[in-house]
């Protein structure tokens, strides 16, 4: 008991320390430039650019910020990057071609959508053992509930969300959403999921207890991803160079924010004060204040930033 309390104090202390002195970092996959840009978000300066072949697209960062995981759908592998040095620790083959990726809370397992093989793949990073589960045509984005128990996977060409028990690695449910669901985001409470339906120009709001759609948000043209920050919902609209912003409590629209050309990957800062969006056509990462909705900063990235996934992690 005492030990727990003590480690709790140390944990809180280190949290405070990291928040007070160090900002977050962004891990931006540049699919056309074929690299992973590591950007210090306090200065909005590129710290490292790690060459990664195979048209890197999806990205996840371990909770401790030490490792970044990058999918290369055309190279058919996942690259494990030491975030401090940019050293490539591992290259893990994935049969068809990996796209979306999330990492388990402990950092031991990866969950990956195999876009070309229509599968969800679990990879144990220590043993490299794999489990595979059929999802349906063109699985794209995915998200893990904060308790690590449930995965939501977008079965893009089925227009469905697949609920997967992460431990048993079995499908527990499927839910019809809009046309071509892509990015999937789950809130910090694990109560709701948000799914960007690219071809319907909508976002499905899903109640995770009932596993039913609770509402449909109408956004601008070709929504790609969803970020949650400061009790707001931010949706990147690829064809409208914009973010649609909603109040997460009552789901009412707040504003539309103009961003760069072809916004794709979108992610909140760890403190929820800022939203970052990668603009694929204009090769920029923009930082937007989640409350004032003002553009705080912009920075150049390598060519074709996709940043598909939760691309923000803590600086070491």
């Amino acid at each position: 008991m005492r030990k727990q309390t003590l480690s709790g104090v140390i944990f809180l202390g280190s949290l405070f320390f990291s928040n007070a002195l160090l900002a977050d970092e962004a891990f931006i996959t540049a699919q056309n430039g074929q690299s992973l840009d590591i950007i210090d978000l306090s200065s909005m300066k590129k710290r490292l650019s790690v060459p990664i072949e195979g048209k890197p697209a999806g990205v996840a960062v371990s909770k401790n910020g030490r490792r970044a995981f990058v999918t290369s759908p055309e190279g058919r592998f996942i690259t494990v990057v030491d975030t401090k040095t940019g050293y490539i620790e591992q290259r893990i083959p994935v049969k068809g071609g990996p796209l979306g990726v999330v990492v388990s809370n402990t950092g031991r397992r990866l969950y990956v959508t195999d876009f070309y093989d229509d599968m969800l793949v679990e990879i144990d990073l220590k043993t490299h053992k794999e489990r595979r589960l059929a999802i349906g045509p063109k699985p794209a984005g995915l998200a893990l509930t904060p308790d690590g128990k449930m995965l939501l996977v977008a079965a893009r060409d089925d227009n469905q969300i697949v609920f997967v028990d992460a431990h048993r690695f079995r499908q527990v449910d499927r839910l019809q959403v809009g046309r071509h669901p892509y990015g999937v985001t789950i809130d910090d409470d694990g109560r709701r999921a948000y799914v960007a339906n690219v071809e319907s120009d909508t976002v499905s709001v899903i109640d995770l207890v009932s596993r039913k759609a609770r509402a449909t948000l109408h956004v601008e043209s070709h929504p790609y991803g969803v970020a949650l920050a400061s009790e707001r919902i931010f949706v990147s609209n690829q064809h409208s160079e914009s973010l649609s912003v909603f109040n997460a409590k009552d789901l009412t629209p707040v504003a539309t924010v103009k961003v760069g050309d072809y916004p794709e990957g979108i992610c909140a800062s760890l403190d929820g004060a800022t939203v970052y969006v990668a603009n694929w056509f204009s090769n920029e990462l923009w930082a937007i204040d989640a409350l004032s909705l003002k553009v705080r900063a912009k920075t150049a990235t390598s060519d074709g930033p996709r940043a598909f996934g939760l691309f923000v992690g803590p600086a070491l």
């Binding site: 068809g96 876009f115 070309y116 063109k138 064809h239 050309d261």
Partner: protein, 185 residues
Amino acid sequence: MMCAKFFKKLVVAVMLLTPPCAAFAAHGASPLKVVEEIRVDAPIEKVWAVVDDFAHPVSTYSVERIETSGNNVPDQAERRLFLKDGVTITEVLTKRDGERFMIGVHRKTDNIQLLPAVNYTSLITLRPVDQGHSVIEWKARFYRGYPNNNPPPELNDDVAVAAVKKLIIGELAALKNYIEKLAGR
């Protein structure tokens, strides 16, 4: 191995025989990009007047006739270019921004015989150089012609990029030529 090769050939054959499919058809995981620009000896307003006229495109294709609808309104305006041999290209205006001097055009009819790329979308933006000169920037987003992994060599990423690049360089040269003639240079 034989079987996989045969299957791929079959897929390509079916793709070539199937009529051009609807908007945003099946495509891969890796969008491709081409960005080209050209300098035009004309003021930006003159260039914009031509580029913004969605119903009357300056085209490098040998167009026999054009049908248009939707009155130059984004997401409504469409143009159908009728080429020789019964080939048609249908394009929709996705964006029109007079302040940024930008239009967006999406090709609804994928036809890998005509262009070995699918889901082809262009963003054309003008910027002034000085009072008498402008630059047209043409950015395209598309996917290779083969939607799955392990594409055949004739439908891979490099082939798609090279074909789109060639198309855009040609379209830009045609635009420059047309606009400079109009401007009497």
